[in-house]
């Protein structure tokens, strides 16, 4: 039995379906105190005075932590990736501020009490005097000279200004046979995993060991960041990732609350726990994606884009130690996505405002580039009369053109975009749909079909980053009885890579999956690794595990060869046996080989090999270039999965309500290790994408107050909104990487952003709508329809 390529249900399913998982909020230790965080009520203010005396006097209150104490006892927060290194501006900020607050919800104090009711009550007694300052909530206003600044140490609100250029855009635009321009807008999002953040910590003063349990995707980097921030040696910190209820890129460090919890445990020498409420999550856990994308495109009569000029204004919220700002860079970096445009300029303004800082969210900025290109292509299709599939086919990077160096230097590895797009048109059955559409129209119903094409590079690797790099480690260990344990530096916040990694190792060692245990998320047991993000866990973590497994396999084959008196290269392993390829009945049980190594170390079979059956190996993914002066390019993403998507919607022309009837995607992430898991991830990604296209929006008012702090206002799709989804795969391996696999985790999230507006436009062709802004809530669609009807 071989496992790679098989649909195996997740190894953690039984534990989790029984409710027997341990999430961070489930951790209870004797004497554990509860932490509540006091958060800024203002978007921008100076902290004038802090008085904690009344709170501290409450019975049951253990301590109240403020910015003053943090500043005296800790370093400024270590960053996951410093914008300053990439030509932008960074900040030094403490886990709790003493001078300024810069967004509503920013942590200002931490109240620790014997129980959480006391902590919450005492929180109301902390008196902070603020001097309110003007709030900057509009990134365009923030760009104007003379605008108040968000970050006192900066001269302006521009965190980063970057440009990627190739060719001569001005001339090409002038000479273009046709031109189209406009503005696409993406709203502000909250990743909204169903598990809010939770952190617990305990300190043993005798062992001098701080243990931190964090709902994090990245335990090892978190340990480094805690060590640097608290000034504590790494050896004295252990980070454990319990079960995590969804990450989606949001749960990447360092959060101020993580530092606060770690600090308090050490100070109090008692276990502490902080569990955030959903409103706090909406206020402070990290937002994403709010961008304005202004474009002008020039094209030939037959729809070939010869010039593209894009200006991206990203509203990344207040600058902190979080890494979410990098998504704006990635948006610019990813333009023009899957298309070949000889003259292209992308200008990026990463603007800070008095809103919640960005933290990671699935697609990490890549969604903006593909969304923009989808809308540009559709506008050009409208202008030229070309079919929307055809216009894309004419502009795609073609299969024979890989590896393809994009405008930003990004190195696209491999793919067949035209085939995927044609295939999805088949999958959604466009011909049958057109008949269905016409019939529906006769009944007074409006159905539409739209396409979206997403290019979603994976494996993000940036220089000078504690968090974002393209390597990872794994240990494979065979026990004397033949049981296998894998310990990985990558983690799984629910996406199932532990199962895929076990499948890879099972095949290399020839053991059954039942004999494999995977341990993740423990800095003391697992080899150093960077955790989970950018779909790296299987392709990078799995590669490291494969290399480690191969090292064990080589040793065991040597021993088996001696035992069978054959040559090692004539051996194979499968079904718990190592046997002769040409004569499979001649073999030896896998566990017997393990036994020889462990129990007969001096015997004839094992004497030539080093004792033990344990290998820790690292894998660094190829197709990443961080030395442009030497290598001639800078490429941050090794692999380039993509998906062609198609959506069928029904639009209620009287109300603007859009219902997604069905959704198809043809996806290419190279060889798929576990089709069931890949499909499962895609389904989730697609519905998140639909959430963005239709339902989700984080809204602030002009004073920087958040208007959408519950699920009643930030509406996620329910099972009733989610459509049936049809998936198909093509597998174009990466020629550069060990597994050829490209990573599935962020796919599906972007295609809907282009497909849904296109489908609504297709449903109402007489109105010639151009829907360039998400989400397409009913009132917005209605308004667009009213405007179109007024001008027609």
């Amino acid at each position: 039995m071989k496992y790679v390529g098989r649909s195996v249900p997740g190894m953690t399913n039984r534990v989790l379906v029984s409710g027997q998982g341990t999430f961070t909020a489930d951790i209870n230790l004797p004497g554990m105190c509860a932490i509540k965080i006091l958060r800024s009520p203002y978007a921008h203010a100076r902290i004038v005075a802090v008085d904690t005396s009344k709170a501290e006097a409450e019975a049951g209150v253990v301590t109240v932590l403020t910015g003053a104490e943090i500043a005296s006892n800790t370093n400024t927060m270590a960053l996951s990736a410093d914008p300053a290194f990439y030509g932008g501006k960074g900040v030094k900020c403490y886990a709790l501020p003493s001078k300024y607050v810069r967004y509503v919800g920013e942590p200002v104090a931490a109240i620790v009490a014997e129980d959480r009711y006391t902590a919450e009550r005492a929180r109301e007694l902390v008196e902070i005097t603020y001097e309110e300052l003007p709030a900057i909530t509009d990134p365009v206003e923030a760009m104007k000279p003379g605008s108040p600044v968000v970050e006192a140490s900066w001269p302006d609100n521009v965190m980063m200004h970057k440009e990627f250029v190739c060719g001569d855009v001005e001339r090409a635009l002038q000479n273009a046979e046709g031109r189209v321009s406009g503005t696409a807008k993406a709203q502000r999002y909250a990743a909204s995993p169903i598990e809010p953040r939770a952190y617990a910590a305990n300190y043993d003063p005798y062992q001098d060991l701080l243990t931190v349990w964090s709902a994090t995707q990245n335990p090892h980097p978190l340990r480094v960041l805690i060590a640097e921030t608290l000034g504590v040696p790494e050896n004295n910190i252990k980070v454990v990732q319990p079960h995590v209820g969804g990450g989606f890129g949001l749960k990447v460090p360092p959060f101020p609350e993580e530092i606060i919890v770690a600090y308090l445990a050490r100070k109090l020498e008692r276990p502490v726990k902080y569990v955030e409420e959903r409103t706090e999550h909406f206020l402070a856990a990290g937002h994403a994606r709010e961008e304005i994308l202004q474009f002008e495109a020039g094209y030939t009569r037959d729809g070939r884009v010869t010039a593209l000029s894009v200006k991206i204004i990203a509203d990344v919220g207040a600058p902190t130690a979080l890494v979410g700002w990098a998504m704006s860079y990635v948006s610019a970096y990813s333009v023009p996505a899957a298309y070949k445009i000889p003259n292209c300029r992308v200008e990026l303004f990463t603007m800070v405002t008095n809103k919640c800082p960005w933290n990671g969210y699935r697609a990490f900025g890549k969604e903006a580039a593909s969304f923009l290109m989808d809308r540009v292509m559709d506008r050009i299709a409208d202008a030229t009369g070309l079919d929307r599939v055809e216009v894309r086919l004419r502009n795609f990077v073609q299969p024979e053109e890989f590896p393809y160096s994009q405008v930003s230097g990004a190195m696209l590895d491999s793919g067949d975009y035209p085939r995927a797009l044609r295939r999805v048109a088949d999958l959604i059955d466009v011909e049958a749909f057109r008949k269905e559409q016409a019939e529906a129209r006769r009944q007074g119903r409006y159905l539409g079909l739209g396409y979206g094409f997403e290019l979603t590079p994976e494996g993000c690797s940036l220089p000078n980053s504690t968090l974002l790099s393209g390597y990872d480690g794994a240990t494979v260990r065979v026990a004397p009885s033949g049981q296998v344990t894998i310990l990985t530096g990558v983690t799984s916040p629910g996406s199932g890579n532990e199962t895929g990694i076990a499948q890879i190792v099972a095949d290399r060692l020839g053991v059954s999956l039942d004999d494999i245990k995977v341990i993740q998320g423990d800095t003391e047991r697992c080899p150093y690794g960077l955790g989970n993000y950018s779909s790296r866990s299987l392709m990078i973590g799995g590669s490291a595990a494969r290399i480690a497994a191969d090292q064990i396999r080589e040793k065991m084959f040597k021993v088996a060869a001696k035992a069978l008196e054959v040559s090692a290269e004539d051996l194979a392993a499968e079904d718990n046996r190592i046997f002769l390829k040409g004569a499979p009945t001649r073999g030896i049980a896998f566990k017997d080989v393990a036994s020889l190594v462990y129990r007969h170390s001096y015997g004839k079979e094992a004497l030539d090999v080093e004792p033990g059956l344990e290998a820790t190996r690292y894998y660094r993914i190829e197709n990443v270039y961080h030395q442009p002066e030497v290598q001639g390019r800078f490429s941050a993403y090794p692999t380039w999965p993509y998906a062609a998507c198609a959506a069928v919607v029904e639009v209620d022309p009287e109300t603007g309500l859009v219902k997604v009837l069905r959704f198809a995607a043809v996806h290419d992430a190279g060889p798929i290790i576990n089709p069931l898991m890949a499909d499962a991830n895609l389904h989730g990604g697609i519905v998140q994408g639909l959430g963005g296209a239709l339902y989700e929006n984080m809204v602030y008012d002009e004073a920087g107050q958040l208007k959408t702090a519950t699920f009643m206002d930030y509406t996620l799709p329910t099972a009733a909104e989610a459509p049936p989804m049809i998936l198909d795969h093509q597998e174009t391996p990466s020629p550069f990487t060990l597994l050829g696999a490209k990573g599935v985790g962020e796919s599906g999230v972007t295609g809907p952003l282009g497909a849904i507006p296109a489908a609504v436009e297709d449903a109402l062709p007489h109105l010639k709508l151009a829907l360039m802004e998400t989400p397409l809530t009913p009132d917005r669609v209605w308004r667009a329809m009213q405007a179109a009807q007024a001008t027609s």
Partner: protein
């Protein structure tokens, strides 16, 4: 202020004293150490806290623990006695990958139990509306729907027994 609460949870009797401010979800999790019931939003939207109260699913974050006095509750822990002894609905979720991170899953499974108890052969539409009170961010619901369809088949159109008294 305190209030006494006597409840039967998964057929076991408990007697505790709770702060009146405590919600049922927290009582189950912290007082009774049944942490399978999860809190996702605390305001009755996401359904992660779904339990059965006197045989009907409710959101336990919207019920005061003190108000549960004298009632019968079923939590996710009541549906299995071991990893190889799962309720048929749970088996269906496992085999059909109806979960990923597992955080919404206990609530989702209980809502499935409720649905199949009242409607042993639901249509896809009835399934989707039946679980609309349970938000999932990982699965896109597709494999959840499939798991429920398979569970309905494996229960063979017979009403799903709420809790087997697995001792």
């Amino acid at each position: 202020m305190k209030a006494p609460v006597k409840v039967t949870v998964n057929k076991k009797a408990y007697s505790v004293e709770v702060d009146t401010r405590m919600i049922l979800a927290d009582m189950l999790r912290d007082e009774l150490r049944l942490t399978g019931t999860h809190i996702g939003c605390g305001t009755g939207s996401c359904g992660a806290c779904t339990v059965m109260l006197n045989g009907r699913t409710v959101k336990s974050c919207c019920i005061l623990a003190a108000d549960a006095d004298g009632q019968e509750i079923t939590t996710i822990e009541g549906l299995s006695t071991g990893a190889q002894h799962l309720h048929p609905i749970q088996e269906a979720f496992v085999e059909n990958q109806g979960l990923q991170c597992g955080y919404c899953t206990p609530g989702m499974v209980l809502s499935t139990l409720q649905l199949l108890t009242q409607n042993p052969s639901p249509s896809e539409d009835e399934i989707r509306h039946g679980i609309a009170g349970n938000l999932c961010r990982c699965t896109g619901y597709q494999f959840i729907v499939k798991s429920i369809q398979e569970a309905a088949k494996s229960l063979q159109g017979k009403p799903a027994a709420p809790v087997a008294n697995r001792g």
